[in-house]
Amino acid sequence: MEVLGYICDQCINGLQLGAVYALIALGYTMVYGVLRLINFAHGDIFMLGAFIAYYFIAKLSIPIYFVFVITMVLTGCAGFIIEKVAYKPLRKAPRISLLITAVGVSLFLEYFLSLKAIFTPDYIGFPRPFEVTAYDLGLFSITNVQLLIFAVTGAALTGVYYLVYRTKQGKAMRAVSYDEEVASLMGINIDRTISFTFVVGASLAGVGGILYGIAYPQINVFMGVMPGIKSFIAAVLGGIGIIHGAVLGGFIIGLSEVFVSAFLSSTFRDGVIFIILFVVLLLKPSGIFGKRIEKV
């Protein structure tokens, strides 16, 4: 009974982490869909989200629901600016140049914020906007933080699904990801669609940043690196460009990470994730939900 309860608790923890990964992976998968680019800076937008939320909660003590809105707007702006400044001039350049630029943007955001004059390279505590209370459900317990994370992730997911499959803008995104040239011939504004995708993806990453800060209340300018890469792996695992694939991938990565930490050793955690990546890339590069077997 004791062991079962422990496993259930770890499951909940894994789902909690997975939900955050899923939020970041959504942005990755959408950007990859329209631009065929691994946006390495996405993990840093996630970090930016946590920092913006920190600032508004700790310094200005603004209510939490308002913080969500502000953070989404600001990280959305950040995504917009990054796309316009760094990626747009390279639309016609080789793809590798774009990738190197993405690495550059990511490093710049990290080290610029870590400057003593701007912020700090040290870990800082993220202020919890409310007390954590655990609800005992017999076999396992669940905290209000976890419930919040599940609720927000669920809402974001529904929103994205509605956006992509029910609205005109979403149709444009799907068209661009299918064939950019033909889409532009059909009168779709490619630049606007790409910008829009970046804004949506970045604001989701921002939300992920707040949730991560509330769940694991220590933030750092380099906190985005590993979650960023793992979320990308989640997107690849589920089938890159596929929305529900990103979410499933996020949960798988979150669960495996928590279980490896709990039952093996936390030092092996990152290694196991990358082994999962290799296995997926080698056996089914199109991911779990990928239909076309595409030689990547």
Binding site: I100, L107, Y111, S114, I229, S265, G271
Partner: protein
Amino acid sequence: MNFFKESRKFLFLSLLIYVVLKSVFSLGIVSQYIEQITLYAFIVILASLGLNVIYGYTGQFSLGHAAFYGLGAYVSAYLTRVFGIEGVLGFLPAIVVSGVVTGAVGYVIGIPVLKLRDDFLAIATLGLGTLFKVILDNSDKITDILGGSRGFVGIPRITNLELTLSVMVFLILVTRNIIFSRYGLFWRCIKNDELAAVSIGIDTARMKLMAFSFGCALAGVAGALYAHLYTFLHPSNFDILKSIDFLIIVIIGGMGSITGTIYAGLIWVGVIEGLRILLPTDMLDLRWVLIPLFLIILMMWRPYGLITKTSRWGRS
């Protein structure tokens, strides 16, 4: 001697450089620190040359080059510690072994990984780098000497000017000769158009593997020299930032240019270490703000590399 044909100028130049450096070092004009930096620059050139073979000549984008550099460093350091090697004569086989081991590991890893392309190869090699760091962090569970996350200590300082320069010159010549051979031609074919390369009958999988393991072996040799120059290894010395270092050198020097890599390596190490001397300690982190900015601007301005002057030495 076909091997040295057309490279007499280069050999003569290296001899000249050796004489100048040796006299400067032995007269004590420069500090020990500068001496170390100079050797380090040569080592970095060697490792970057490996990445240039993989990325610049063959077009395989690797973000995990530092892992192989680190592997070479750890293999060589382990050998010298276990066998108690202190002199140059014993060190030479250790260098060879670490080069061979790194090349072999690169070969084995390359078989599955090189099937991937562009971004996916990048993310896989990035994963490789992280995986390697995880292994290094846990390496004290394998044997205690490796030190795990505490770092590998007590490596004898064997690397000297003669050794570094001669190894570098020798391997540059080897690389140049391969680049000018049939294989180099195949590599450049694959880089320019892989599909076309397949259609004219090039065994692209084998050629990519060959380039990859050769490039890794160069990084391994460089790592071995590095380990015995600084006498201390730490897993965080071989993380993604180090890989990006090599990548920047290859990009600045121009993809597929040996001379470019040499210049860029010298300039890069000079700038990085120069800033370390010039900038006050609390501003040192500013380097990593300026470097990515430089990288982004470089990519917009010259997506194919900074030094793009055509040279006889195998530009693609």
